[in-house]
C-alpha cells in the first residue's frame, strides 16, 4: 500500500514546519511566525489573484500557526473561497480551517452555509461527506437551522452512498443533541430504524448511535428497534470469527457494533415479546459461554475486544435485573477476572461487581468474593484499583459481614493513600452506623477512626457519633468510659478531645463513681489537652467545664479558677473570652436549680439522614451526565455551604447566640429595639428567668452541633428589632423571574442551605431556618468579579395576594459590594396563612456602569413551616380516614427522575419537613409521613404517603390535608423532588 510522504503536495508548508521545528527558542519561533504572517497577509492583499494551490497552502499555514497556539485574525475569507473550489484537496483544507476556527461573523456564515448547501446537492459523495463532517464538527444552531431538514432526507434516500449515510446519521445526531427542536420528526424516523438491517455494517454502526439518542427522547416511537437490534446482535454473536471479514477485529466479530447494540437495548426494559426475549437471552448466554472458551489469539487486542462485549452484556443483565441465572453467571465470570493478571480486567471486574452487589439476585454471589476483594485492597499497586475494591466492599457490606469489612477498612486506612482516606473514613462511619448491632462496637469503631486517621475525620463524622450517643442511653456509659480511656493516650487527636469533651460533659457522671475516673480526674485529663487545642475545641471544652460545675459541684472551685484566669477572661479571641465571662458569671450568679435547668442534658436529636451519607454523596460528585465544566471550579467550592461562608474578616462579632438564630426566644418582629451586646444578652436571660433558657447565648454545644451555624455579625436582638425600612417596589417595577427560577426554587424545597444562584458576576447563597410559623433567612451575595458593584439593592417582592399571606422583612445592605467581597442580608419571615407562590427576590446593581437586574424566586415554600408530627399507626389511619373527602386528597403518579434510593428518599421527605412514620405502612418499601403546617392564622394537618415502584421506576404520591389547595400544592412541590 502506498504510504504518504512527508507534507506531500505542499512543499512550502513542509519547509515552514521544518523552520519552526528548528527554532531554538520561543522568541525565534515567534519571529519566524510573524515573518510568515506578514508574507501571507501581503499575498492575500496583493493585486495578483492567488491560484487555488497557493490559497490552500497559505490557509494551511495559518491553520498550523493557530494550532501552535497563536491567534489568527485573518484568512477566513480565503478559507471560505476554498470551499467553492472543485478540487478535493482545496475544499478539504477550507473545511478544516472553518471547523477548527469557527467564526461567528454572520456574513461568513452565510457564505459557508451556501457552500455547504452546494456540496450537499452535488451528488458527489466525497464533497457531500466533507460538508456533512463540517456540520457535524461545528454543530452550531445556525447550521442546524439551515440543514436540519435536509439531512434526514439524505440519510434515508435510496440512492445515497453508504459513506454518505454514515456521515449523515452522525451529523443528524450532533444537530439533534445540540438543538432537538430543529430536527423535524417524520416519516424518516421509521426508515432510520430499519437501517439496523442495512447490509453495510458501517452504516449500522453509525445508525445505532443516532437511534440510541432518538430513543431516549421518544422511547415509544422507536420501540420497533428492540427486535431489530436483537436480531442484528444475534447474527453477530453467533457468527463465526471470520464471517464478518472487514468487521472482524482480532477474531472478534464486530465488537464495537455489538457494544453499541447492547447499549441501545439498555434504553428499554426487557423485551415483552417472548420470542424476542428468548433470542436475546440466548445471545447473552452465548457471550457468557464464549468468555469461557480458550482465546483464539494471545494478543491483548483479542481479549480486550471480546471482553468489551462481555462487560456490556453484563451491564445489560444488570440493567434488566430480572434473570437470576444470568446475574449469578455474570458474577462468577467477574469473580474470575478479580484475579486476572491484567490490571484493566481486575479494575473493571471490581467496578462492575459493585453494581451487581445491589441486585437482590446476585448480592450473595458477590459476597463470596470478599476475601479476594480484601486482598485487592491490600495489594493492588494502582490506587484507582484499590479505590474500586473499597467501593465494592462498601457495596457488598451487610449485617453478616459488616464487622469483617469495617475492620479490614480500618486496617487499610493505616496505610491508605491520602487521596482516598477521607472517603474511606466516611464509608467506615456509615457502615458502622448502619450495621451496628451493639452500639459499643459503633463507638469503638468511630474512636478508632479518629485514632488512625484523625485528620480525615470530618465534622460530620464526629457530630454523628455525638448524636447517636445522645440518642441512645444504652451506650452512653460505655462511650464515656471508652472516650475517657482514649484520652489517656499521651498524644491524641484533637477530634478525640472534641468528642471526649462533649461526651464527658454530658455523660461524665456515668463513670464518676469509679475513683480512677472521678470528676477531678476527668477534669484534669481534659484540661491537660486544653492548651494544645484550637480555639473551636477550647470553646467546646469551656462548655464542658460549665457542665461539669453542674454535674460535679465539687469541681466548681477549680473550674471557676480556670475560668477566672487571665488567659481566659482576657483572651484575645472574643469567643473564648465571652464564654469564660459568661460561664463564670453563670456559675456564680445562678442557683443550683437554674444551673441544672440551663445545663440540662441535651435532648435527643431528631432522627434524620446521616449527614455523613450526604457528604459521601457530595464527594462522589454530581451525576456523570453533567457538563465537564463542573470540574472547572476549584475543589473547595464543591462544598456548597463552604462556598457561601463569609471569610472570617466579615464576621466581626462572633456571637455565641448564633445557634438557631435565636428564633425560639425571638420577640415578634415589631418588638422595640432591645439593647444589643453580649453582656446584655445574659442579663436579659436572667431577667426572664430560667424559662428563657433556650435563648441563652452560652448554649454553645448547640451551636457546635447545629448543622447550620450562620455567622451573626450583630446581636440577633438588634437584627430582629430592625425591620427593613425600605419600601418594597411594586411588582411592576421588577422583571419577570429568570427562566431557571423554578428549577432553582425546586432545589430548595427539601433543603435550606446552598447556592441559590450563580453566574459570572454574582453568587447568591442561602442559609435559612424555620420554626413554627417563623423563619429567618441569610442571603449571601458574593461579587465574583474584581470590580465593585454599585447601587447594589436586593429587594423582596410579594406578588398578588402574597402580602396578606407571608410577611418578609429585609434589612438593607450596603449599596457597594467590593470585588471578591460578600455581603449578607437577613430576612425575617412570618407565615400568616397558607400560600402557594413564593415571594420574588429582585437583585439590581451596576457593574462597570451597566445596570444588571435579576429576579429569582425566594426559596420559601409552604412546606418550610411544617412541624413534624409523630403518631402511632392507629392514629395515622384514623386521621387518614377522616380526611377522605375527594378534594382533601391530591395524588400524583410520576416517573422517577433520580435513582430510587430509599435513604435518599427518606432524607428528602425529612427535608421536606414531615415526620417519617415507621411501621405504619404494611409495605416496608413505602414511606408515610405526617406533619402540621404552622401559619399565624391557622394550622393545616398533613398526611402523606409515597409508594415507590422500583421495577417501573415510578412513584405514587398521595397527600391528604384539611385544606384542598394545600394538598395539591404540597403534592406538586414534593413530586418534583424524586
Amino acid at each position: 500500500m502506498p504510504a504518504v510522504s512527508k507534507g506531500d503536495g505542499m512543499r512550502g508548508l513542509a519547509v515552514f514546519i521544518s523552520d519552526i521545528r528548528n527554532c531554538k527558542s520561543k522568541e525565534a519561533e515567534i519571529k519566524r511566525i510573524n515573518k510568515e504572517l506578514a508574507n501571507i497577509r501581503s499575498k492575500f492583499k496583493g493585486d495578483k489573484a492567488l491560484d487555488g494551490y497557493s490559497k490552500k497552502k497559505y490557509v494551511c499555514k495559518l491553520l498550523f500557526i493557530f494550532l501552535l497556539g497563536h491567534d489568527i485574525d485573518f484568512g477566513h475569507m480565503e478559507a471560505v473561497n476554498l470551499l467553492s473550489s472543485n478540487k478535493y484537496t482545496e475544499k478539504q483544507i477550507g473545511y478544516l480551517f472553518i471547523s477548527v476556527l469557527v467564526n461567528s461573523n454572520s456574513e461568513l456564515i452565510r457564505l459557508i452555509n451556501n457552500a455547504i448547501k452546494n456540496d450537499l446537492a452535488s451528488r458527489n459523495p466525497t464533497f457531500m461527506c466533507l460538508a456533512l463532517h463540517c456540520i457535524a464538527n461545528v454543530g452550531s444552531r445556525e447550521m442546524g437551522e439551515a440543514f436540519a431538514a435536509d439531512i434526514p432526507r439524505i440519510l434515508v434516500a435510496g440512492d445515497s452512498m453508504d459513506s454518505v449515510k454514515q456521515s449523515a446519521a452522525l451529523c443528524l445526531l450532533r444537530l439533534y443533541k445540540a438543538s432537538p427542536d430543529l430536527v423535524p420528526m417524520g416519516e424518516w424516523t421509521a426508515r432510520v430504524v430499519h437501517l439496523l438491517n442495512d447490509q453495510h455494517m458501517g452504516v449500522v454502526t453509525a445508525a445505532v448511535s443516532l437511534i440510541t439518542c432518538l430513543c431516549k427522547k421518544n422511547p415509544d416511537d422507536f420501540k420497533t428497534c428492540i427486535s431489530l437490534a436483537v436480531s442484528r446482535l444475534s447474527r453477530i454473536v453467533s457468527s463465526a470469527s471470520t464471517d464478518l471479514q472487514d468487521y472482524t477485529y482480532y477474531f472478534v466479530p464486530a465488537p464495537w457494533l455489538s457494544v453499541k447494540l447492547l447499549r441501545l437495548l439498555q434504553c428499554y426494559p426487557p423485551p415483552e415479546d417472548a420470542a424476542v426475549k428468548g433470542r436475546l437471552v440466548e445471545c447473552l448466554e452465548t457471550v457468557l459461554n464464549k468468555a469461557q472458551e480458550p482465546p483464539k489469539s494471545k494478543k491483548v487486542q483479542h481479549s480486550n475486544a471480546k471482553n468489551a462485549i462481555l462487560f456490556e452484556t453484563i451491564s445489560l443483565i444488570i440493567h434488566y435485573d430480572s434473570e437470576p441465572n444470568l446475574l449469578v453467571r455474570a458474577c462468577n465470570q467477574l469473580g474470575q477476572f478479580l484475579q486476572h493478571r491484567e490490571t484493566n480486567l481486575r479494575y473493571l471486574a471490581l467496578e462492575s461487581m459493585c453494581t451487581l452487589a445491589s441486585s437482590e439476585f446476585s448480592h450473595e454471589a458477590v459476597k463470596t468474593h470478599i476475601d479476594t476483594v480484601i486482598n485487592a485492597l491490600k495489594t493492588e499497586r494502582d490506587v484507582s484499583v484499590r479505590q474500586r475494591a473499597a467501593d465494592l466492599l462498601y457495596a457488598m457490606c451487610d449485617r453478616s459481614n459488616a464487622k469483617q469489612i469495617v475492620s479490614e477498612m480500618l486496617r487499610y486506612l493505616e496505610t491508605a493513600d491520602y487521596a482516598i482516606r477521607e472517603e474511606i473514613v466516611l464509608k467506615v462511619a456509615i457502615l458502622a452506623e448502619k450495621y451496628a448491632v451493639d452500639y459499643s462496637w459503633y463507638v469503638d469503631t468511630i474512636l478508632n477512626l479518629i485514632r488512625i486517621a484523625g485528620d480525615y475525620v470530618s465534622e460530620e463524622v464526629w457530630y454523628r457519633v455525638l448524636q447517636i450517643v445522645t440518642n441512645r442511653d444504652d451506650v452512653q456509659g460505655y462511650a464515656a468510659k471508652t472516650v475517657f480511656e482514649a484520652l489517656q493516650a499521651p498524644a491524641c487527636h484533637e477530634n478525640m478531645v472534641k468528642v471526649g469533651g462533649y461526651i464527658l460533659g454530658e455523660f461524665g457522671n456515668l463513670i464518676a463513681g469509679d475513683p480512677r475516673s472521678s470528676p477531678p480526674v476527668q477534669f484534669s485529663l481534659l484540661h491537660s489537652k486544653f492548651h494544645l487545642c484550637s480555639v473551636a475545641t477550647r470553646a467546646l471544652l469551656l462548655s464542658t467545664y460549665i457542665k461539669f460545675i453542674n454535674l460535679f459541684p465539687e469541681t466548681k472551685a477549680t473550674i471557676q479558677g480556670v475560668l477566672r484566669a487571665g488567659s481566659q477572661l482576657r483572651n484575645a479571641d472574643v469567643e473564648l473570652q465571652q464564654r469564660a465571662v459568661e460561664y463564670l458569671t453563670l456559675s456564680s450568679v445562678a442557683s443550683t436549680d437554674v444551673l441544672a435547668t440551663v445545663l440540662e442534658e441535651m435532648p435527643p436529636f431528631p432522627e434524620r439522614e446521616s449527614s455523613i451519607l450526604a457528604k459521601l454523596k457530595r464527594k462522589k460528585g454530581p451525576g456523570a451526565g453533567s457538563a465537564l465544566d463542573d470540574g472547572r471550579r476549584d475543589p473547595s467550592s464543591n462544598d456548597i455551604n463552604g462556598g457561601v461562608e463569609p471569610t472570617p474578616s466579615t464576621v466581626s462579632t462572633p456571637s455565641p447566640s448564633a445557634d438557631l438564630l435565636g428564633l425560639r426566644a425571638a420577640p415578634p418582629p415589631a418588638a422595640p429595639p432591645a439593647p444589643s451586646g453580649a453582656g446584655n444578652l445574659l442579663v436579659d436571660v436572667f431577667s426572664d428567668g430560667p424559662a428563657a433558657q433556650p435563648g441563652l447565648g452560652p448554649s454553645a454545644e448547640e451551636a457546635f452541633l447545629s448543622e447550620l451555624e450562620p455567622p451573626a455579625p450583630e446581636s440577633p436582638m438588634a437584627l430582629l428589632a430592625d425591620p427593613a425600612p425600605a419600601a418594597d417596589p411594586g411588582p411592576e417595577d421588577i422583571g419577570p423571574p429568570i427562566p431557571e427560577a423554578d428549577e432553582l426554587l425546586n432545589k430548595f424545597v427539601c433543603k435550606n442551605n446552598g447556592v441559590l444562584f450563580e453566574n459570572q458576576l454574582l453568587q447568591i447563597g442561602v442559609k435559612s431556618e424555620f420554626r413554627q410559623n417563623l423563619g429567618r433567612m441569610y442571603l449571601f451575595y458574593g461579587n465574583k468579579t474584581s470590580v465593585q458593584f454599585q447601587n447594589f439593592s436586593p429587594t423582596v417582592v410579594h406578588p398578588g395576594d402574597l402580602q396578606t399571606q407571608l410577611a418578609v422583612q429585609t434589612k438593607r445592605v450596603a449599596a457597594q459590594v467590593d470585588g471578591g467581597a460578600q455581603v449578607q442580608q437577613v430576612l425575617n419571615i412570618e407565615c400568616l396563612r397558607d400560600f402557594l407562590t413564593p415571594p420574588l427576590l429582585s437583585v439590581r446593581f451596576r457593574y462597570g456602569g451597566a445596570p444588571q437586574s435579576l429576579t429569582l424566586k425566594l426559596p420559601v415554600t409552604i412546606n418550610k413551616f411544617f412541624q413534624p408530627t409523630e403518631m402511632a399507626a392507629q392514629d395515622f389511619f384514623q386521621r387518614w380516614k377522616q380526611l377522605s373527602l375527594p378534594q382533601q386528597e391530591a395524588q400524583k403518579i410520576f416517573k422517577a427522575n433520580h435513582p430510587m434510593d430509599a435513604e435518599v428518599t427518606k432524607a428528602k421527605l425529612l427535608g421536606f419537613g414531615s415526620a417519617l412514620l415507621d411501621n405504619v405502612d404494611p409495605n416496608p418499601e413505602n414511606f408515610v409521613g405526617a406533619g402540621i403546617i404552622q401559619t399565624k392564622a391557622l394550622q393545616v394537618g398533613c398526611l402523606l404517603r409515597l409508594e415507590p415502584n422500583a421495577q417501573a421506576q415510578m412513584y405514587r404520591l398521595t397527600l391528604r390535608t384539611s385544606k384542598e389547595p394545600v394538598s395539591r400544592h404540597l403534592c406538586e412541590l414534593l413530586a418534583q423532588q424524586f
Partner: protein, 175 residues
C-alpha cells in the same frame, strides 16, 4: 392490620398501579455515549492532535491539555489504561513516545474505547507506512481526515480498517 375498606392505601404498590405508560427517558441519560475529546500528546506534553467534540474556549482547551498530560504521564505499565478525570474518564494508550487519549463518560465502555484507539493507530500506521510522530506533525491536516473517517460527532463512525484505508487512498488520489 387495620382494615381500611376500599381505601387504596393497602393496595400493594407492586401490583402495577400505574395506568400511565412507562416512559424511559432519564433511565438512559447516563448512557449518553459521546467522546468529549481526543488528544494525542508526546511525553513532553506537545499536542500532536486535539479533536474536540464539546464547546470549549481556548483557555479551557489549554487547561484540559495540561491536566490530561499531568494525569496520564505519571502512570506506568502496571496501572490501568483508565483514569478518572473530573466527572469523566480518560482512556489512554501509549505508543512509543505518544499518548493517545480519549475522554468519555464514566459509564462508557472502557475496553471498547481502548481498542478504538488501537484500531485508529493501526490505520495511521498503515496509512503513513510505519507511522512516527513526525508524520503527524507534517501531515496534521490529513490526520484530521483520518479521525473524521473513524470518529464523527463524538461517536465511532467506521471500524473496518479495510474500508477506512480504501477511502483514504481514494481521497489521496484526488487532486
Amino acid at each position: 392490620m387495620i382494615p381500611l375498606g376500599t381505601n387504596a392505601y393497602t393496595t400493594p404498590v407492586r401490583a402495577g398501579h400505574c395506568a400511565t405508560p412507562l416512559v424511559f427517558i432519564d433511565l438512559c441519560s447516563s448512557l449518553l455515549r459521546e467522546i468529549r475529546f481526543i488528544l494525542i500528546q508526546n511525553r513532553a506534553g506537545k499536542t500532536r492532535l486535539a479533536k474536540w467534540y464539546m464547546q470549549f474556549d481556548d483557555d479551557e482547551k489549554q487547561k484540559l491539555i495540561e491536566e490530561v498530560h499531568a494525569v496520564v504521564t505519571v502512570r506506568d505499565a502496571k496501572h490501568t489504561n483508565f483514569v478518572e478525570f473530573r466527572n469523566f474518564k480518560i482512556i489512554y494508550r501509549r505508543y512509543a513516545g505518544l499518548y493517545f487519549c480519549i475522554c468519555v463518560d464514566v459509564n462508557d465502555n472502557n475496553l471498547a474505547y481502548l481498542e478504538a484507539i488501537h484500531n485508529f493507530v493501526e490505520v495511521l500506521n498503515e496509512y503513513f507506512h510505519n507511522v512516527c510522530e513526525l508524520d503527524l506533525v507534517f501531515n496534521f491536516y490529513k490526520v484530521y481526515t483520518v479521525v473524521d473517517e473513524m470518529f464523527l460527532a463524538g461517536e465511532i463512525r467506521e471500524t473496518s480498517q479495510t474500508k477506512v484505508l480504501k477511502q483514504l487512498l481514494m481521497l489521496q488520489s484526488l487532486e
